[in-house]
Amino acid sequence: MFGKCNNPHGHGHNYTLEVTVAGEPDPVTGMVLDLKELKEILEREVMQRMDHRFLNYEVAELKEKIPTCENIARVIWDLLDPKIKQGKLHRVRLYESADLFADCYRNGAAC
């Protein structure tokens, strides 16, 4: 089923995460969400949890799951969605490689 992805000691990827937040720009700042704030949320919720970690063993949210691109994207969505208060999380796209990615949308909001 998993081919070489099943090798016993695991393997790594340079993941790329794309986060899209949708909403009305604030009339004063012209921003949907302050990028500084988004960066802090991503650093805290995703980077500190996952960067340079063994996903199977070190990320509590993935403990019972196989860390496929689909499952990691879903975990990231669930971590970010409640933290984004200005605008609404629209899409989480996680690239495992340049040719493989998973997208998460709020159900019914897929474009």
């Binding site: 689909e70 493989l100 997208d103 998460c104 709020r106």
Partner: protein
Amino acid sequence: MAVKIELGRRYRFAASHRLHTEKLSEEENARVFGKCANPYGHGHNYVLEVSLSGDVDPATGMIANLAELDPFVEREVIDVFDHHSLNEDVAAFRDVVPTTENLCIEIYERLKSFPHAKLERVRVQETTNNSFEYDGSQKGKRS
């Protein structure tokens, strides 16, 4: 909270085409298609993006297994188009101009029967500045 998850996979193929139709005069072809109507065609390095949706299998964590998707796309699309002339070698383009819009429709039709997940859309990038998407919602509109 309900979340929809899609799997995206990219493939690459090189193909040639000529944008030209018998329905227009030579002058009109030249005006509409410009240098893309040059008689011997020209090539592109196309990038195809395939998006699938479906339940993430709790046992495998997957919407679709790439070990099944990749050979399917290879057989249905890459083997047929790669290093071929779209006009001369692909029956669907005998009487249909092989624009990237029409190429999207043809690829969608070829891939929609993938048995293990739902085909959401195909996106074809003709150059880094041109891309087109088709999600099956305008069936029969090909011209």
